[in-house]
């Protein structure tokens, strides 16, 4: 890795610095280019009417309302699974256990789950929720699959947030007669709330942008879902279908823009929650 001897240290330093910054600029440049490319192409299609009207002719015309609603339902179902389970797991790991062989098994299992490709979640969701449990292609199958997929993210960020809470909060609360759970519920959790929320919001971000795991569990029906058992096509799956079916470039660009803007808002939201609220509690 060291720079070739032919350059004197001083000039090697300069060359290296420019290279490093160039690489970083390239990486950030790529990000801005991608977002710019999508938003510029999609700008013409973007309108309230596009967001709030139903598609016609398999999405060639009209809007993407059903897919927006489906995305919200599926992501909400995912959060309803991942948030309680994830935060509860994080509380147990951070507050109730000491590092032991058992916690190492839990932690490595959680890390391994985080490393599973989303297509495997798609296969599993299809085999387990859609077929074995007979939920069929539905919001429920999609939501449950995504919930399990973002579970590791929620567990990891929540545990970090809990560990960041000053130790003495627990001393004080329990010494004032609060039981262990009361001290967690009324002091530790509120103090860790920003970090936990950030983890959940980042999980939502991942759920919204997921395609492989959703296409085989929530299905692709381009209809307004009414019950959790209705099949539902999320925005990312709709965008993928529009692009791959070559149905309509404008509709594809429009959907992509809505998707990218949503992800931007979610990430910015997560970031501000993290900064503003932690400052209030520090």
């Amino acid at each position: 890795m060291t720079m070739p001897r032919l350059l004197a240290p001083r000039s090697a330093q300069r060359v290296a610095m420019t290279l490093m910054w160039a690489a970083t600029a390239a990486t950030v440049g790529l990000l801005l280019f991608i977002i710019g490319f999508v938003l510029r192409r999609g700008a013409s299609t973007l309108s309230w009417e596009f967001l709030f009207s139903s598609p016609r002719h398999s999405g060639a015309l009209g809007g993407i309302l059903p897919t927006v609603v489906s995305t919200i339902y599926v992501s909400a179902a995912a959060v309803l699974v991942a948030a309680p389970l994830g935060v509860a797991a994080a509380i147990y790991l951070a507050e109730y256990t000491k590092e032991s062989r058992l916690t190492r098994v839990i932690r490595s299992g959680t890390d391994a789950l985080a490393g599973i490709p989303s297509i495997i979640f798609g296969l599993f969701g299809f085999a387990f929720f859609v077929t074995a449990l007979g939920m069929g292609w539905s919001i429920l199958s999609g939501g449950l699959t995504l919930g399990l997929m973002i579970l590791p993210t929620v567990i990891r960020t929540s545990e970090e947030a809990l560990r960041a809470v000053p130790r003495h909060y627990r001393d004080v609360a329990q010494s004032l007669g609060a039981s262990k759970w009361q001290s967690i519920r009324s002091v530790v959790l509120p103090a860790a709330a920003p970090g936990v929320m950030t983890g959940v919001v980042l999980g939502i971000g991942r759920a919204v942008s997921e395609t492989a795991a959703v296409i085989f569990t929530a299905g692709v029906a381009l209809k307004m879902p009414f019950s959790p058992f209705d099949s539902a096509r999320t925005m990312s799956v709709h965008f993928y279908t529009l692009t791959m079916e070559g149905i309509s470039d404008d509709m594809a660009y429009g959907t992509a823009s809505v998707l990218v803007v949503t992800i931007l808002l979610i990430n910015i939201g997560a970031y501000t929650i993290m900064n503003r609220l932690t400052r209030k509690y520090r």
Binding site: H57, S58, F216, G219, V220, A221, K223, S231, T241, G246
Partner: protein
């Protein structure tokens, strides 16, 4: 004629068009995913009862008709002898499979042998077919797709296989888009998928048109078959009659299919 791709990638919809729910008996159709979007269009216009259209593929449709889980089974391939027992087949439309090339491609016609050689990977350059000196980009559908089955059945036959170096996409609309972007590409889509961005080749001298498909002159086609256990009767018979009526056949033509009962 609004030739707009109607085929849904994975037709998971299990509920009839919810636009308006006519009174009357409820009929369930199940089977070929190629027929499914067209069945939905017929269902939308049909006033005689509520139609539930499910997918699952031709084989599933045949089985559904056999064991009665569906009133009408839909198959977009000819039935094997073993499958026909107890079933009455009614051809409601024909869907040709058009071989397409980029609009700028000078090659306008091929023989079945040439087509087999291209997709078999033995002819690799357009120059061998009177076109420009450029490698042919062969594009095909994924394994399991009904359109690919029909293409393999008519063009490749049992002995030949599509070359492993062919590009694969799971979407007929996507395949058409890929051909429209690559001057050296060749692909195949259902007749209903054709649009001005691509050019349909004449095969053995016959260009795929509605009449040539209806008459059977254009051999690269597959029938859309409604299957019932025994002769169709009751609500199923009424729906099939509607589909074969002038109104039903006009819908088929509007959606790019070759009608069977009207010229």
């Amino acid at each position: 004629m609004a030739r707009v791709a109607l085929c849904l990638a994975v037709t998971g919809c299990t509920r009839a068009a919810d636009a308006h729910v006519p009174a009357g008996a409820v009929i369930t159709l199940a089977g070929s995913t190629s027929i499914q979007p067209f069945a939905e269009r017929w269902a939308e216009e049909y006033a005689g009862g509520r139609i539930i259209v499910q997918s699952g593929g031709s084989t599933a449709g045949i089985k559904a008709a056999h064991d009665g889980t569906a009133d009408i089974g839909m198959s977009s391939r000819a039935l094997q002898p073993a499958e026909t027992a107890g079933l009455v087949e009614t051809v409601v439309a024909r869907d040709g499979i058009a071989v397409i090339v980029h609009a700028s491609n000078p090659v306008r016609a091929l023989t079945y042998a040439q087509l087999r050689a291209i997709y078999g990977g033995t002819i690799r350059n357009w120059r061998q077919l009177g076109g420009p000196d450029a490698a042919i980009t062969v594009i095909t559908r994924e394994d399991g797709s009904g359109t690919r089955d029909a293409f393999e059945q008519f063009v490749m036959g049992a002995s030949h296989e599509i070359t492993a170096s062919a590009l694969v996409t799971a979407y007929s609309g996507g395949l058409r888009k890929m051909v429209s972007q690559d001057p050296n590409a060749i692909g195949y889509v259902t007749f209903s998928q054709l649009n001005p961005q691509v050019h349909a080749l004449a095969i053995d001298g016959v260009t795929p048109t509605e009449p040539s498909i209806a008459s059977g002159a254009y051999r690269l086609q597959r029938p859309f078959v409604f299957l019932t256990r025994g002769a169709p009767q009751g609500a199923a018979q009424q729906f099939i009659a509607y589909v074969l009526s002038d109104a039903g056949q006009r819908i088929a033509r509007a959606e790019g299919l070759a009608p069977v009962t009207i010229q």
